[in-house]
Amino acid sequence: MDLLKNFDKVQDPSKLSATSHFTNDLGLDSLDTVEVVMAIEEEFSIEIPDKEADAIHSVNQAIEYIMSQPDAH
């Protein structure tokens, strides 16, 4: 998840781990979360529908989603 390390709004990079919650641990608001999910889309060349994107609130959930996508790379 190097992607998040570079995301400028992450307030406290030391809190970033595989289990970080975007809002509670990283201090991101809902718009930032949208940006993170969009960046993931570009990084892995996938398209995440709104419904699923709204359900991603943590690094864990993001990884789970990416893993469940067969054409993610």
Partner: protein, 99 residues
Amino acid sequence: MPPLTGLQREVLSLYRRCLRACRLKPPTTRPNFESFTRREFARNLKAVDKKDFGTIEFMLRKGNRQLGVYEQRGVRDIAGGGGRAIPDDKHGSRRLSPR
């Protein structure tokens, strides 16, 4: 985080659609569109009361309309500071000025 309300989801969906539209812009001007999008949402986030649903619905409609105009292929660049879109000469000199 509490579940999002329908209105919140609509705002996030508009934000997502705006950022997706940015991807279709020329690589050189795409950052301008992205910073415009971020600035507009951040600005209204501060300016509008969270409970003022009427205003939020109005802003949503306005945003949707604005997206419809700016996602046209003729709009190739957008000003970084003032927020006025720059029309493409080939497609006539449309003037676009967001209020």
